[in-house]
Point group: C2
Chain length 427, copies 2
């Protein structure tokens, strides 16, 4: 955990801060040729290519018949859950559903002087959810990516996950996933984008993944919809030193344990407190099971930024535009108006980020690596398409015909003019 002093007017030029704010830019070119080849082969060869890549990358032998996980296995995984996990997932599911129901949008139509204008809001037909598998177990990812789709009214949610474990399958059953295929990587993304003999083609692909998955989504964007280009995860904690430094240390660690590229940042005006947090972090790491991962991420990216005051702390937060922002201060709401860029803001000492990862209700799929500048948390709005509706009566037509002809001529688009003129001639 490095300590950087930003208590000066040139803080925006601090090298470490600039490096961290660009952390989200992935080294795409390295992986691009491989991913392009995978996409090309899946497009041309369908199942055959998917099966071959699954053998090569995941070490699993599949056939078109064994790609899909039987639905009964989802149900059984759910029924056989330990009671506490089952109850916890049910609490989470219910809270996530309730929060997302507020995001439902209504279609509307208005009529004025012979012209009807409207906007229809229609759920997507079929979406794909990517869930990391193998050693990882992410039932929360299943809930967070599926529930908004189900709330939006999507009828088919197809999940792909390489070697999904029983928690993942149980969550799929609970959340309302329609079908599960045990495939992963760029080949799974390509299969969902184009469809194969066995895998259905979807309209949009959501969910986190490694660099291959992220790059495949980006390259296929346009052929299929995607949620976002997700990079490594990060938390930024603002504190005035009014909370137990151990709490802050645990929160930073809960980000650092995700993966070696995760970012954990503390911004505080209290120098002594900063040192206490660093010490607590070392204590917590002593016999921490995921020590290797956490240490690497903390060494590479972990940083305490010392600032003049809490107002500057907010400016640093806006500069980084973190995925998660915790405001652990005496009066957290007083800072909220100064925060313009963050995926999710956690206010107050008890609002530790893991509560939001699992059970509170707001989505944990959030814009990472500074993309909170222009992106939003995953939501119901990501699973609908809007469509404009226009009706122009003869009366309405006469009202707007002149203006349309004038602009058509100014743009030199003669047939645009003509389409109006042939109708006028017949009136």
């Amino acid at each position: 955990m490095k300590i950087e002093d930003l208590r000066n007017t040139a803080w925006r030029f601090n090298e470490r801060l600039r490096y961290l704010s660009r952390r989200g830019e992935i080294l795409e070119e390295e992986y691009e040729a491989v991913v392009r080849e995978i996409i090309k082969r899946v497009r041309e060869e369908g199942d055959k290519a998917v099966i071959e890549y699954t053998h090569r990358f995941d070490g699993v032998e599949l056939t078109p018949e064994t790609m899909e996980v039987p639905y009964e296995e989802l149900e059984r995984s759910y029924e056989e859950l330990e009671l506490d996990v089952k109850q916890a997932l049910e609490v989470a599911h219910e809270r996530i559903r309730r929060f997302h129901e507020r995001q439902l949008e209504q279609s509307y139509m208005v009529e004025e002087e012979g012209i009807i204008l409207g906007m229809r809001v229609i759920p997507l037909d079929r979406v794909g959810v990517y869930v990391p598998g193998g050693k990882a177990s992410y039932p929360s990812t299943v809930l967070m990516n599926t529930v908004p789709a189900v709330v939006a009214g999507v009828r088919e949610v197809v999940m792909v996950s390489p070697k999904p474990n029983r928690y993942t399958l149980a969550a799929a059953f609970l959340a309302g996933v329609t079908r599960v295929f045990s495939i992963g990587g760029a080949q799974a993304v390509a299969a969902l984008a184009f469809g194969t003999e066995t895998i259905p083609k979807v309209d949009k692909i959501v969910g986190p993944g490694n660099i291959y998955v992220a790059l495949a989504k980006k390259l296929l964007y346009g052929t299929v919809g995607i949620d976002m280009v997700a990079g490594p995860s990060e938390v930024l904690v603002i504190s005035d030193g009014s909370v137990d430094p151990r709490w802050v240390a645990a929160d930073l660690l809960s980000q650092a344990e995700h993966d070696e590229l995760a970012g954990a940042f503390l911004v505080t005006p209290e120098e002594e407190f900063a040192h206490e947090v660093v010490k607590e972090l070392e204590n917590l790491l002593t016999d921490f099971p995921r020590k290797e991962i956490a240490k690497k991420s903390l060494e590479r990216f972990g940083t305490v930024f010392l600032v003049e005051d809490l107002k500057q702390a907010c400016e640093v937060a806006n500069y980084i535009a973190p995925e998660h922002l915790e405001i652990l201060t005496k009066e957290p709401f007083a800072l909220l108006p100064y925060i313009r860029k963050a995926g999710a803001v956690f206010l107050g000492p008890y609002s530790t980020e893991p509560l939001g990862d699992y059970v509170l209700g707001p989505n944990h799929t959030l814009p990472t690596g500074g993309t909170a500048r222009f992106s939003s948390p995953l939501g119901v709005y990501d699973f609908v398409r809007r469509s404009s509706v226009i009706y122009v009566s003869q009366e309405g037509f006469q009202r707007v015909a002149d203006a349309t002809e004038s602009i058509a001529m100014a743009e030199g688009l003669h047939a645009h003019f003509l389409a109006v003129r042939v109708r006028r001639e017949d009136l």
Copy 2:
């Protein structure tokens, strides 16, 4: 204009239909190396690279001082407009503004059992609008891309356009564009994405462009937000033969005149009517000023699909998911429930698409090439970011602590467990 018979059960396998539904997939790889090089050089060399590429591609000599169009020139272009064009643009501006104001979203917060959850809706800080220039003149593009940003509350709208003409500049003044730079191509997109000594870095880039512009946007997605990956434009007309075939022909032509890749399709159960439309189209083309462009697009993509009935016509429309859909039938609203995929639907004989391009109010930036499967018209929602807000009191914490710990252990994320546990220990 080719005529294809889909009056059979295997219509989904019609070669022409399948070819047209994939028309939107652009041959990216051909252009990718060039665009990557442009992006790299603009990133590293800033203004110098932008000036060099502008000289090479647009034949214009710029300096950092002459890149920006003085604001007075925008104002003067507006004041000097022909009266009819000025009034037309004002009508359009007012209608577009009114329609988009309905899309404004509210932030919200709800409180339940010691937990406050909310969603803030915050305008983007600064956006870039790309407007094609040179021989083209698109004041309507300026209005359609700028007004929703201004309605959303974006404070800075930076427009780029190579050699913008007076109509484009006048529309920029009217719409509320903050600054205009006379640059274009992939170099303009890269300049907006990274910022240069002269061009400000933006949060999101919107607006149409050629293949270089589209590809630069796609490659830079993640570094900067983008609206969509736009392909060539298309219209699909459904008709029962109850309208003047000349009207249909003019509407098809108004799409075909856009560019050589534009698509114009008619779907009808009336064979005789189909032939009449084709004949009228030939008549209209006789001394049509944009004949060369229109003929090329009609020869390559123009198609009449003969169907059994209007219900099948809707299925064909959903298959293609067109940018513009015109329903020119006796009872157009009766078909609306069967239409699931279209950027904008124009109902009734007077609802010709050019009215929507210019003055009606709904946005003319629409998903093309089948992307209406998952994308929406450009709107105010594209110019805001959402951010979750979470406050958990001590009481609320005790309510969700158990469930969080259970899921954390099921996922094997020890520090997620720890962040909850250290707080419980201190209670």
